[in-house]
């Protein structure tokens, strides 16, 4: 799906994603801070415990000399070249009794006399190895009286906190993102589901046009927030439909009212003696008759939804039209020919409407074919009916326009108002059929209507 600035879905996803990222970062920061604190507390407790344990190895001989006798493993730790651990002990007056490191001893010597039970300290960039140390001074009761034992270890609080953070990210943080993803999925799903009726309504709206004014957008299942909009659109469509109905009624009435005076005019011209001017006037009246006739047909086609579901024999329907128009075609100095399979061709369609369409196609072909030639109407078993003439054909650029209402070819002087083929196109569309314009094999134009077979 395309993400646009105005898409609710995109906005929600973006905002939720931002919120979840922020929450995840905050959570990680909190965990790191807590981790550091915990590590520090844990470190202090551990150092205190260590000091107490190490006191066991401090003793005062009978000679009054303090000794530190560490077991081998501890010795390795406290006298290592890396100087990871420091140990020193002082008496209450601040006198140093034992020490594992000269620099540590020197530092302690500068301190005031020890006091209190427990005091943490911290060295930064300490000693020749320039290391950070955490330490603690604890009052311990040794076998030879109270001692303030100072223990320090190279600071590994960061490492511990880092370890905790890593553990947190590995064990917990990914679940935040999983949770976030799940929330996003739910949000997207809800939106898509909520907007599904909107899409359905949009599809219906696609079909609304001058020929389908009765369509209304469905209000079922629509989110309540969108109901007022859809209701307002539907109300607007109601008003448009009324407007169209009035206009169509007007077209129908106007065409209808024109018929009587036209009948009088036609009859009056028929009654006159033949002459060149009378002939022209008769042609003019005939052209006007055709126009009024076609306007009525268009108005009817617009106002009544034709039922195209009937089982209809295309062969018989076409034959009837050819039969009906043959005398007129002869009067127009051409003939009609009919090619059809020997069996009926059953299609799904409305016979009167199809007759209207075919009649328009044949009339059009008769107007364009050369005098003395045949206009061929052919029905095929696959549900097509075509009309071919032997006229000049339809210029390529015009093909796209010939089915438009009131369109007429340039420099073409012939009766009609350019409605005939528009009517054909609308009837074929109502049948869900296809219309195709090609060149006929003998020159001229061939227009073919394809209609759905009755299965």
């Amino acid at each position: 799906m395309r993400l646009r600035a105005h898409s609710l879905q995109a906005q929600l996803v973006l905002k939720l994603a931002a919120m979840f990222s922020l929450a995840a970062v905050l959570a990680v920061c909190a965990v790191v801070y807590e981790g550091r604190q915990a590590a520090k507390t844990l470190g202090d407790d551990e150092l205190e415990e260590r000091a107490i344990q190490l006191t066991r190895f401090i003793s005062r001989g009978a000679d009054g000399v303090w000794r530190l006798e560490l077991p081998p493993r501890q010795r390795q730790l406290y006298y290592s070249a890396a100087r990871t651990r420091l140990l020193a002990a002082r008496t209450a007056d601040g006198a140093l009794v034992v020490s594992t490191d000269a620099e540590f001893a020197a530092e302690l010597a500068r301190w005031p006399a020890p006091a209190g039970e427990r005091r943490p300290f911290r060295f930064e960039d300490f000693g020749s190895a320039s290391q950070d140390y955490n330490g603690i001074t604890v009052r311990v009761q040794s076998s030879a009286g109270p001692l303030w034992v100072s223990v320090a270890a190279v600071s590994d609080a960061d490492a511990l906190a880092y370890g905790i953070m890593k553990g947190f990210i590995v064990d917990v943080a990914w679940s935040i993102f999983l949770f976030a993803a799940a929330m996003l999925a739910v949000a997207v799903w809800s939106i898509r589901r909520g907007l599904k009726p909107v899409r359905a309504a949009s599809e219906m709206a696609e079909g609304i046009g001058p020929n389908a004014t009765t369509v209304r957008l469905p209000t079922d299942d629509l989110p309540a927030e969108l109901l007022p909009l859809v209701a307002a659109v539907n109300a607007g469509l109601d008003r448009l439909e009324q407007g169209f109905a009035v206009q169509r009624q007007f077209t129908a009435n106007a065409a209808h009212e024109l018929r009587t005076p036209l009948a009088i005019l036609t009859a009056g011209l028929d009654a006159l003696d033949d002459g060149p001017e009378v002939g022209k006037l008769r042609d003019d009246a005939a052209r006007m008759n055709r126009l009024v006739d076609q306007l009525l047909r268009v108005a009817r086609l617009d106002s009544v939804a034709i039922d195209v579901a009937d089982k209809t024999d295309l062969r018989a329907t076409a034959a009837e039209v050819v039969e009906y128009l043959s005398p007129w075609a002869l009067a127009m100095h051409c003939t009609l020919g009919f090619d059809a399979p020997s069996a009926p061709v059953w299609i799904r369609g409305n016979a009167p409407a199809l007759k209207d369409a075919l009649r328009n196609l044949i009339e059009n072909a008769v107007f364009h074919t050369r005098a003395g030639t045949e206009v061929t109407v052919a029905v095929s078993a696959s549900g097509t009916v075509s009309v071919a003439d032997r006229g000049p054909g339809i210029p390529e650029p015009d093909v796209a326009h010939i089915f438009e209402r009131f369109w007429r070819g340039k420099g073409v002087s012939r009766p009609g108002a350019g409605l005939g083929l528009a009517i054909v196109a609308e009837i074929v569309r109502a049948h869900h059929g296809e219309i195709q314009v090609t060149g006929a094999s003998l020159g001229g134009a061939l227009i073919r209507m394809k209609l759905p077979l009755y299965a």
């Binding site: 009948a263 009859a267 009056g268 009654a271 008759n289 039969e323 009067a331 009919f338 090619d339």
Partner: protein
């Protein structure tokens, strides 16, 4: 031959009356359904021309009433309405034919003649087309004054074409007409008969011409085009 014209539009009455009188008919005209019904009840018209949109009622109701009263006069409906429903309604009411306004007067006259040519109608025994005359009782054909002899299946075809003058007669209909006259009907029997008929008419100087509508049938037209 007396016709009744029931039409309220004065100019149409005037023009139609003149045209029909030129064609040799006597025409009475009334402008309302009530007057038309009265006239049809009192005088035995040979045919009636009825406008559907009359000031005092619908013409198709008038038609239904006279038909239920047993009047079989041939009726041609004249109307500005041309939807399929309107046509069906008019024909259901008992009309014999239907002409939509605006119409060519010559077409209306030939439709009236066709109604009168139907079996049992006024012109039923004598069929005419240009200088061609067909006597359906005596079964003989004349071009002008000259009799024209032809075999009976050609006569049958010509009779049918003349009854449907100016309109297409499907080949299948002609095949039905001569079916039973010949022991075996060859697939090209009709084209062969029509070919002979055409030549005979041309040789005798008849003005009507038989046209072929390829794939459908034939039609006879009064004068060659």
């Amino acid at each position: 031959m007396r016709l009744l014209l029931i039409e309220d539009e004065d100019r149409i009455v005037e023009l139609l009356k003149a045209a029909l009188e030129r064609a040799g008919f006597a025409v009475d005209a009334v402008g309302a359904a009530a007057a038309g019904e009265k006239a049809l009840a009192s005088i035995g018209y040979d045919a009636a021309i009825l406008d559907l949109g009359l000031p005092d009622g619908d013409g198709s109701r008038l038609l239904t009433r006279i038909r239920s009263a047993g009047n079989r006069v041939p009726v041609l409906i004249l109307t500005a309405r041309d939807s399929i429903e309107d046509r069906v309604e008019g024909l259901d009411a008992g009309a014999d034919d239907y002409v939509v306004k605006p119409f060519a007067v010559s077409e209306l006259v030939s439709r009236i003649k066709a109604l009168l040519r139907r079996p049992g109608s006024a012109l039923g025994t004598l069929l005419e087309a240009g200088n061609l005359v067909f006597d359906t009782i005596g079964r003989d054909v004349r071009v002008g004054k000259t009799p024209l002899a032809m075999p009976r299946h050609e006569l049958a075809i010509l009779e049918h074409l003349m009854r449907r003058l100016g309109r297409v007669v499907p080949r299948a209909v002609l095949e039905e007409k001569i079916y039973g006259m010949e022991e075996e009907l060859e697939s090209n029997a009709i084209p062969v008969h029509v070919h002979h008929l055409r030549r005979k008419l041309a040789d005798a100087g008849a003005t009507p011409v038989i046209h072929t509508v390829r794939g459908i049938g034939y039609l006879l037209i009064e004068k060659s085009i």
